[in-house]
Every structure is written in structure tokens, then in C-alpha cells.
Symmetry: C2
Subunit: 406 residues, 2 copies
């Protein structure tokens, strides 16, 4: 018995029937004696529908008004779930972002939560109410409605769990947990039962899509245990929590694969001090986030500088790179959108040597050429040709002992 | 130049294209130098859709949550219109009920406006913003979302116009004004250019559906001139204002026809003091509103008591009436759902005699039997058989000189 925050995503509340299922699950936690606070997303597809409505008005709909429009999605599901619970004789009550006092900055469309005044929620659960809160939304200092950006309901849930010092924040979704890698790529992928915040952050930023990165950052900061699980089964999912909780662990927790990047190579750059900054500065000024950067050893007085950018920014980045190459007297610019970034992630790496060597030899054994490498304390990423991505994932998954037992 | 409140109904904002038309009309008023505040209904059909969604959850959806759900309708149109105006380079901003500080009581589903703190709206229009307010909604003392009941956006508009001391509250609808009678019944119906609040109140309560009664009461109380007009044409509509503004006037302003009532006759009630209360008391206790009541002169120690009730309450009223009839020893109960209530309305009646006589003789000339009569200072109503309703309306329209010149 304790305080449980349950968050249900769009597919879990996609229609009245599924909302009824959610109500039964909420009721079960409540009947077990817990105080229950529920955070909801909009029905699957609704947010996209609202955005497409707005885009018929303007190519770039004004952001404050777009937030007012989008906030109706979660308002609808929160009202419907509270109504369902009440029809089942449970004392439920919906709260919108402004009523739950989820205060954010005023960055419409991508607002950050500043603080939550949990008094009203606490008073309600203190009287044994089930509180149903519209996720994804808050209000700024002036009382404007704001939204938290894609996947923001996860962040709402974790932030509210933190404010309530909840025992757990359950994130119900359409998958039943976090996997060692994408099961669509590797049939032997295993569900991870426990994962540390830092690993989850790496997994998320390297391509796993289960949780919004910001929500994991929040959970880590306030030490909120997250339980990622399926709303369609009773099985345990994946616990995301602090490193210390986790005694035994493998060297590597998971393999991720991202096809969202493109690689740009500026060849034959004169080998002068500060040249990397002269090449990459204008890219940053154009608002393009560079991920990996490799500068080759100088040869005949010139260098090659390679870097990756989001594939969506490829055209803009190429244009800037070509201009810069001319200015600094480089030989030329090559671009490649057919790359994949494969990463192995694990806190265990900190205390195990040889992870990088094993990764490189595994890829070599499959005749996969490594184009770029980057590392951190708990991940190693390699850029390879896109066509080898799935093969690489499966080979690494086996090599690091992650395969599910048959 | 002044402060104009414009209210657009559901058909006027039924889709993106119509919202664009509304935006152009709003922009025109703004460009003429006026401060403009817009109140919107939900898109036509949306409120019914939301209600039917809720009714799939429960036959009687909990009222607080239903209001949260319904409020999304106006939130959507307000955001879309503000977005459209902004895309046209006008400085617009939407406000929900709670942001516009429309404070109501906590009668969910049928809340009454208690007060409006117009400071925020005034500050915005003071900086030449166009303010777009979600109609139909407010918030109670505890910050709960409330709605004002069917047609509540009219009341929102008039109340906000009153709070702003606006020069006029324009109600845009799908008809181009208030008519002397229903043009669908009488081809010679004329648009009324000016009508007093009291007449409009009678017209509305006797069956004309152009304005919500409560909004006219509000307008009368705070002396807000209402201009009822079409959102699809530029023509002047009908001004609803105080009696004093109106110099010339006809004896009768309009003819209304209502088919929403049923008549119940309790025959042979013993002629005792207090017998009417004994018959009608239980009807009132059952929550049924009785409109007209006629008690016949006693004959052989018994009376007949006839009364009308809303047709929707007919079955419940008959059941109660039968029970009461037995208790008081009446002879029997007859019910009739095929009645119509025809009324002539006009402030001019106050100073003209002979209106009743003319009404009765007109109906008699058409061989229409009058079953019940009720009168006030400014209206006379007759209950007749439903099948004569249209004939009666046309005959009275001609008799009182209301016919449009051919």
C-alpha cells in the first residue's frame, strides 16, 4: 500500500472500451489500498488529427493557440476516464494541468515543468479520491495553457510522482517493457527486468523509443522508480531505477540502432589550428546539432573532418558545409544519408574492459566496416552503412550474451 | 468606434472554411477601429457527439466530468479562430472560461454566471488585441470547469458584453434576425428590426428559438443592446434593446407557436377548498413544471382542472395525475399530447385594448376551438388542437397586420 502514479499512453485509451479496461486496472490498484493518481495521454491519433486541422489554417500555426487546441485531447480522455470510474462507483475526479498546478515555463509546444503544487492532489487522495490528470499540459505564470512536447505525458507522470513522493510511477504502454534491443530486428531480444536511469537515458537517446528522455532525466533527478509495463497484460515489465538498487548486472544491457543520422565528410581541410571550429562553427550557428565528430590525422598538410547531423537537417547542413569548405580551401564535401548508428549500452562497462574490442571484432567478423566511433563511460557507438544495421544488431546481441534462451 | 462583442454559433464555425469567414468578419470590425471581443460556440454537432460518447459510458454521466468533456468543444473553436486571425496578421489571443474569469455557481451542466472579472480582457483589448473567448463555460469558486447549459454561449456573450460595458453584443446565427413568426410556417413573416427585451423574453419563452432566454434576461438587467444577425450576410438583423429606445411600435410584435406541451385534464374533482393544490402539488413534487392551469366553474359539486406540462414529462405527469385523481375521488384523467400553444406578443398591448378580442375572433373565424387561455401584460396564449397550429399562426399574422408587403 502506498502512492501509485499510473500513466496510460494513447493506445491504452484509444476508445471507450479501452478506457474501461484502464478503469478496471486503476480500480484494482485502488482496491488494494493504494492511493492512485492517473495521468493520461490523448486518444491515439487525436493529437495528429488536431495538428493536421491546425495546419489547414497555417503552415506554422501560432504556438500558444496550438497548445490550447492540443490540450483538448488529454482533457477529453481525463474526463472520460473519471466518468467511467464514477459510473463504477469509485470516487474519481479529473484535473487539467492548470488545476493540478503543473507550472511550466512559457515555451509553448515544448514547455518545461518548473514546479508542481501537489496540495490539491494530496488533499484529494487524502480523502481517498482517485485523481485523473490530463498529461502533456501545464500552465505558465500568466495562466496560459502550455504543452510539454511529444511524449510529454511521461514527463507529467514522473514529475507528479516526484511531487507526491510516490512509491512508483507505472508507465503503461503498448509494449511490455524495455528490451535488450528492438524485437522487430532481433527475434532473440529479451525484456530487461531492471535498468539504471543512466542506461535508460543512453538507450533512449540512442534510439530506444519506450520513454521520453526528459521523463527519465526527471526520474533520475528525483529518484522516482519507473515501472514500464503493458496495459494489455498483467506481466511485470521493466523497472527503471537508480544504479544502487541493482546488484547483479551484465556488462552490457542493450543494443540500440538509430537511422536518424546522416554523415558529412569535409575532405582535405588545411591542417591549421582552429580549423575544426571554423568548419563546425557555422553548422552550429545554423541551429544544427552535430552528434559525432572525427578529425583524421594530418596527411600532406591536410585533414578530413567527418561529423553526423540529424537526417532531417541534412540538406541545410550540406549547404553550409559546402560554403565553409570553399572558404577554408578544403578539397570537397561528401554526404551520406545511408548510415546507421549502432550502440552497446551498459553501466557494467565502467568496470569491465574489452567491451570496445569485442564490439569491433564482432563487426569485423561480419565484414562490417566501421566508419565512425564515439564512446562514453556507459556506451560505445559505431556508425556503419545502413544496410548492415540489422545484421550488426543481431551479431552484437549474441556476442554480448543478451539472447533469450530458446 | 467602440467595444463590440461578437458571438458566433455552432453553424458559423462548423469547419475551417467557416472559421475563416468568421475571422474576416471579426477583422473588418477591428479594422474599423473597434475593440473586438469574440465569443464562440463549439462546431455544430460536436457537443452532441461528446454527449453521445459520454452516454456510452453511463446513462447518466457524472455532471462535473461531463462539463470537463463538453468544454473541449469551445476550447477547440476558440484556438482555431485565434490561430486563423494570427495567420492573417491580427494580434489575437484565445481565453478559456477560467482565463476570462467567468465565475459561475457550481451547478454543473447548468451553471449560472456570478461575476466576470473583466480586467484581463480589458488589458488585452487595451493593447489592441482581439480576444477570442470560449463560450458556454466558466469556473466555480474551487476552480472546477462548469458549463452554462444549452445555448449558454449567448449568455456568455451578453454577460461579457455587460462586464465590458460594450456598445453592442452582436449574436451571429444561421438566421438573419428575429421574425414576426416562424417563416417556415408563415411565408409572409417579416424580420423585426427592433424589439424590446420584454417582448424578446416572451417570444423566446413562447417558442421562438433565436436567443436563449437567460441571455435576454441578462441583457435586460444590464441594458446590453443585442444585435441578432446572420453570419452569412451583411444585412442588418434585429436589435433587441430597452423599450424606451423604441419610439414607433405596432400593437403586436410577433406570433409564436409551441408544440412542446401536453394537456392533462382531471375531471370531476370534488369542489373543496385547496383541491387545486392537492391535485397539482404532487405534480410539482415530481419535478414537473406546470405551465397553464384552468379550473372550471363548479357544477354539481365538482370541478374540472386542466393544466399543461412539457410533452417530455407527459408520461410521468399522467401517472402522478391518475394516482392523485384516485386519492381525491375525481372521475377520471384525460391526456392530450396533440396540442399547440399559439401566442401573440407585444409591448404595444399594454396601451391597446382589444387584442384578446381580436385574437379570439380571428381563431373563431377559422373555426378553431380554444381549449385554454393564459395572458400577461404583453402576451396572450391560446391552446388549440395541434393540427390547426399553422392555420392559426397565418390567420393571426394577417389579422394583426404583420404580413410582409408582397
Amino acid at each position: 500500500m502506498g502512492v501509485i502514479v499510473q500513466k496510460f499512453g494513447g493506445t491504452s485509451v484509444a476508445d471507450i472500451e479501452r478506457i474501461r479496461n484502464v478503469a478496471h486496472r486503476v480500480a484494482k490498484a485502488y482496491d488494494a489500498g493504494n492511493d492512485v493518481v492517473v495521468i493520461l495521454s490523448a486518444m491515439a491519433g487525436v493529437t495528429d488529427k488536431l495538428i493536421s486541422m491546425a495546419s489547414r489554417i497555417s503552415e506554422r500555426p501560432e504556438k500558444r493557440e496550438l497548445d490550447v487546441l492540443l490540450a483538448t485531447g488529454e482533457q477529453t480522455t481525463a474526463a472520460l476516464l473519471a466518468m467511467t470510474l464514477i459510473s463504477m462507483k469509485y470516487p474519481a475526479r479529473s484535473l487539467m494541468g492548470f488545476q493540478a498546478e503543473v507550472r511550466t515555463d512559457c515555451a509553448f509546444g515544448n514547455a518545461r515543468i518548473l514546479d508542481i503544487n501537489a496540495e490539491r492532489i494530496e488533499a484529494l487522495i487524502g480523502r481517498r479520491n482517485i485523481v485523473v490528470i490530463a498529461g502533456f499540459q501545464g500552465h505558465d505564470r500568466e495562466g496560459n495553457i502550455t504543452t510539454l512536447g511529444r511524449g510529454g505525458s511521461d514527463t507529467s507522470a514522473v514529475a507528479i510522482a516526484a511531487a507526491l513522493k510516490a512509491d512508483v510511477c507505472e508507465i503503461y504502454t503498448d509494449v511490455d517493457g524495455v528490451y535488450t534491443t528492438d524485437p522487430n530486428i532481433c527475434g532473440k531480444a529479451r525484456k530487461i527486468s531492471k535498468i539504471a536511469y543512466d542506461e535508460m537515458l543512453e538507450m533512449a537517446s540512442l534510439g530506444a523509443k519506450v520513454l521520453q528522455i526528459r521523463s527519465v532525466e526527471f526520474a533520475k533527478k528525483y529518484n522516482v522508480p519507473i515501472h514500464v509495463r503493458s496495459s494489455f497484460s498483467e506481466e511485470e515489465g521493466t523497472m527503471v531505477w537508480s544504479e544502487e538498487c541493482d546488484m547483479e548486472r551484465l556488462m552490457v544491457s542493450g543494443i540500440t540502432c538509430s537511422k536518424n543520422d546522416a554523415r558529412i565528410l569535409v575532405k582535405g581541410v588545411p591542417d591549421q589550428p582552429g580549423i575544426a571550429a571554423r568548419v563546425l562553427g557555422p553548422i552550429a550557428e545554423a541551429g544544427i546539432v552535430v552528434d559525432m565528430i572525427i578529425q583524421s590525422a594530418p596527411k600532406n598538410g591536410t585533414n578530413d573532418i567527418a561529423f553526423t547531423v540529424p537526417r532531417t537537417e541534412y540538406d541545410a547542413a550540406m549547404e553550409t558545409a559546402r560554403r565553409v569548405a570553399e572558404e577554408v580551401g578544403a578539397e570537397g564535401v561528401h554526404g551520406d544519408q545511408s548510415i546507421a548508428k549502432i550502440s552497446v549500452v551498459g553501466i557494467g562497462m565502467k568496470s569491465h574492459s574489452g567491451v570496445a574490442a569485442k564490439m569491433f571484432s564482432t563487426l569485423a567478423a561480419e565484414n562490417i566496416n566501421i566508419r565512425m566511433i564515439s564512446t562514453s563511460e556507459i556506451h560505445i557507438s559505431c556508425v556503419i552503412m545502413e544496410k548492415y544495421a540489422e545484421l550488426a544488431v543481431r551479431a552484437l546481441h549474441t556476442a554480448f550474451g543478451l539472447d533469450r534462451e530458446a
